[in-house]
Symmetry: C2
Subunit: 519 residues, 2 copies
Amino acid sequence: MSIADTNENTQPLATHRRGGGRVGRRIMRSAAVPSFPTLVRKIPAYEIVPDEAVELIHEASLSILEEVGCEFRDDEAIAMWKQAGADVTGTRVRIDRGLLMELVCKTPSEFTLNARNPERTVKVGGKNSIFVPMYGAPYVRDLENNRRYGSLEDLQNFHKLAYMAPALHSSSSIICEPMEIPVPKRHLHIIHSALKHSDKPFMGIVTSKDRAEDTMAMAGIVFGEEFVRDNPVLVSITNCNSPLVWDATMLDAMKVYARHNQPLILAPFALCGASTSASSVGAVAQVNAEALAGVAFTQLIRPGSPQIYGQFMVTVDMKTGAPMGGTPEAAQMMYLMGALARKYRLPWRTSGFHVGSKLNDAQAGYEANMLMHAAILSGANYIWHSAGWLEAGLSCGYSKFATDCEQLVGWYKYAGGVPFDDFKEAMAAVREVGPAGHFLGTQHTLEHFESAFFMPTIMDFNSFEQWNAEGAKDHDTRGREKARTMLRDYEEPKLDDGVAEALHDFIAKREKSLPDTVN
Amino acid sequence: MSIADTNENTQPLATHRRGGGRVGRRIMRSAAVPSFPTLVRKIPAYEIVPDEAVELIHEASLSILEEVGCEFRDDEAIAMWKQAGADVTGTRVRIDRGLLMELVCKTPSEFTLNARNPERTVKVGGKNSIFVPMYGAPYVRDLENNRRYGSLEDLQNFHKLAYMAPALHSSSSIICEPMEIPVPKRHLHIIHSALKHSDKPFMGIVTSKDRAEDTMAMAGIVFGEEFVRDNPVLVSITNCNSPLVWDATMLDAMKVYARHNQPLILAPFALCGASTSASSVGAVAQVNAEALAGVAFTQLIRPGSPQIYGQFMVTVDMKTGAPMGGTPEAAQMMYLMGALARKYRLPWRTSGFHVGSKLNDAQAGYEANMLMHAAILSGANYIWHSAGWLEAGLSCGYSKFATDCEQLVGWYKYAGGVPFDDFKEAMAAVREVGPAGHFLGTQHTLEHFESAFFMPTIMDFNSFEQWNAEGAKDHDTRGREKARTMLRDYEEPKLDDGVAEALHDFIAKREKSLPDTVN
C-alpha cells in the first residue's frame, strides 16, 4: 500500500451525510438512495501467526482429506469424484493433495456479482469486500420489541431496510422466514421480495434442487435467461455438516448453481468443541479441509466457476451447547482462515455482527464488534450476517438491523484506510492555530470536519441532561426508532412492469403445482 | 514469534474458572483471589500504514516542536529547558530534533511497577501490557441503575471490584470522585482506599504539588520511604493541554513524581477536530509532538526515569462537541500511535473500554469493543479505562465495570496468542471421530474444552425459553448482579496493623492542616 492511495474509497462516505464529494455526486444523480460501491480495502490484513504456522494447518488439512477423507452423499457426486481419480469407498472420498489443489486452483480469485441495478454491481475477492445482511431467522424482534415468528411483511421490511442502508451491498434473501407461507411455496415469495424491494445482489435458495431451479428461473426473468446462464447474480450458501460430510441436499443445490456459474459459499457451520475438536487450530484445520473439499467439488461441476471459500466458526457454551458470538477464539480463527484463503487466492466469507444475545443490548454490542473487527482486519471478502443477527441467528431484530447498518458506515471508512491526502493542510492549521488555540474556526476544519470523522446518529452523545430530557432512551429504543424512520422514507426501486408481471405469473404457476405441506 | 511460544501465558486463565494449570495453582496457593500476571503479548502488532507513513508523521511532529514549539508554563521548567539548550522565548520552548530525541532516548523501554503484594508486581513496556480501570468520574451509575454523584463508599467498592477482577493489573485511584469529601482533603482518602482495599499497583494524584507529595508520603508508609525514592509503585497521568501547552499544575506533579522515579503518563487529552485539526493523521502528528515534549522534559528532571508515552484521542460529536467513543478514526489513530511508540521504544498508554454511552447498553458494547480491539492489536502497554467508563468518563457504572472485567479475561486470552500446543492431539481426535461423528465425548475434548474457549458468565447463552423463565434480563441487569456478587465475595487483603495505623495517623495529621474549601 502506498500512502498516496490510502484515501480513494473513503470519498463515497460523504454521500451518507449530504451527497458531497465527486463520487458521491455521481451516485446521488443516478439513484434515489445512496449506496457505497464495493469496499476496496486499503488496510493490510492482520497476520496473527507466522507463515509457517499457516503451512502447518494447511498440511494437516490436506492429510485429513487424504487419510480420513470426506463423505459426499450423492451418487452423481461420487461418480464425478471417481471420474476425477479420487480414492472412493462407498460415499467416502479420499482426495490426494495433488488432485485437491489442482481443482482448487481453477477457482477465480475474484468475480463480479451483478445487481439488477448495474450501479449496485460489486466485486468479491482480493481487496474487494462486501457487507451482506443476515439469513435464516425464524423469529424477529419487532418494532415493539416483541419476539415472535417472522412474517412476509417482516421479510419485506428487512429487504427495504437493506435497500436503504448505504453500506450493505446485498439484500441477502431469507433474512427472516415468512412463517405463514407453506414451506414448499415459501422460497418463491422470499426471492420475489428480495428482487422487488431492493436492486442489490441477493442470495439463492439451497433447500432442494427444485427450489434452486426456481431461484434461477426467477433470476432469469429479471436478468434475462441467457445472462444468468453464465453471469453471477446471486450467491448461495452450502454448509458442510461438520465433521466432514457434504449431504445430498447441499450437493443438489451446488450442482444447479455451479452449472449456472453462480457462486456458492462453501462453509462448514462449525460449533467448535462439538462438531470440531476443542482446539481453535484443530477446528481451523478441519474446517479448512471441509471447505477445500467443497470448493474442489464445484470445480468438477464447472471448472473456473466462481466460489467463496468460507467458515462459520463459533465456540459453544459449555453449559447449554449453544453457539456464542464475540469470543476471542472466534476472532483468532477468523485470522487463521483469512491467511489460508490468501494462500489459496480464494474469495472468502466470514460473518460480521453475529451474536448470542437475545436483545440489542451490551452483550450484543460487545459480541458484534469483536467479530466485525476481526472480519475487517482478516481481509474477508463476503462479510455476511452484517445486519440484524440476534440469538445465534434464531432471531432478526429491527433495532439490531438499524444499528448494524449504521455501524457498517464506520467500518467501511475504517477499511478504506487512513487518509493522508490533506496532511499538509492539517499541518498548516497547527502552525496557524499555535499553542493554546483551537481549531474549530480554521478553514481546514470547516472544509474537512464532516468527511474526517464518522458521526453515528443512533448512538447518543448529547449531554446527560439533554438525553434525559429526550426520554433517557437506551440504544435499543433509538435503534427501533431509526428502523421506523428508514421504513417511512423507503421508496421502491420499481421493476419494469413486464418483469414484475412475469414474476407474478411464474409464482402463480409454480404455486399451483406445489403442495401446501412437506410430505 | 515462534509457534512454540504462542501459548505460554494463556495458562493462568484456567485459574479464573477453577484454578487449573501450573501457573494457576501457584497463584491460588499464594493469594485468596486469582490475579493474572503481566500480559505478555504473543500476537504481533497491527501496522495499519507502511513505515514511510510513520516516518512522515514523525518528521511532521519534529517540525512542529522546532518551528511552532510548545508552551511550558512554569519558571523552573523554563530554566531547565534553557539550561538544556532549547530555544526559549518567554514560556515558548522550541526544541530541535537532536536535543529532543537525545532526551527521549534516555527513557527506559520497559520498567517494573511494584505492588504492595509482590505477586501483583507487573512489567510495563515492550511485550508487557497491563489493564487498568477508569479514572476521574464525578458520577456513578449505581447498583440500582441510578445516576448520582460518586461517594467514598462507591470508590471503595470500585477498588474492591478491581481487586476481585483477575485481569485487572491495577486499582487505578480516582475511579470515581468521593464527592462528599472536601476537595483539599479528598486525595488522602482516595489514595488510602486504593492502598487499603487492593494490593495491586495504583495511580497517583496530580492536581497539585502538595497532593503529589502526600501521595508519595503515603506510598512511603506502605512500601518504605527508601524504596519509593527510586522504585516505581504508582503511575500518574499528566495531560498536555492540546494544542501544545504543558501547564504549571501538570509540571509541578511531573517534577515530584519523576524525581521519585515514579512513571508518568505523558498524554495529551485530544478532542480531535476541536483541540486538533480535523484530520486523523494531523491529530496524531500534533499529539505525538506534545507527548514527546512531555517525555523529553521528564528526562531533564531525572534522566533514565521510566515514563509512559501516551494518547487519549477521541473525535467529537459535530452537534454537541462531546467526546465520542468507538469511532473508526479513534482506532486508526491508536494504530498510528502504537507504531510511533515502537519507533521510539517507549512504553505507551492508550484507553480500552471507553465510551460515550450513558448506559451499559448496545452503544456501550459497540463503542467499547471497537477501542479495546485496537488497543490490543496496536500493542499498547498501559491499557487504561479498561473498566467502568461511561458517558465520556463523567460516570462509572457498576454494571459496566463488571462487564469490562469479565471481557478482559477474554482479551487477555486473545493477546496471549493462538495455542498450538495440543494441535497434534486435536488432529488425532479428528481421525478418531471421522465424518459425521461428534467430539463431545473424546478424551481430547474432556481434557481441553475448559481451557480452549473463553466462557463469559454475564453474557447469556441460554435458550430463549430458559432466559425468559429467568426474568428476560438484559445484559445491564446481569452486570449489576455480577457486581453485587463480586462485592459480596470480597475479602480485604489486609495491610499490616502498623502500616494501617501509620496511614491513619498521616491522614489525620494532614487533614488538620488542610482547609475544607479551595480558596
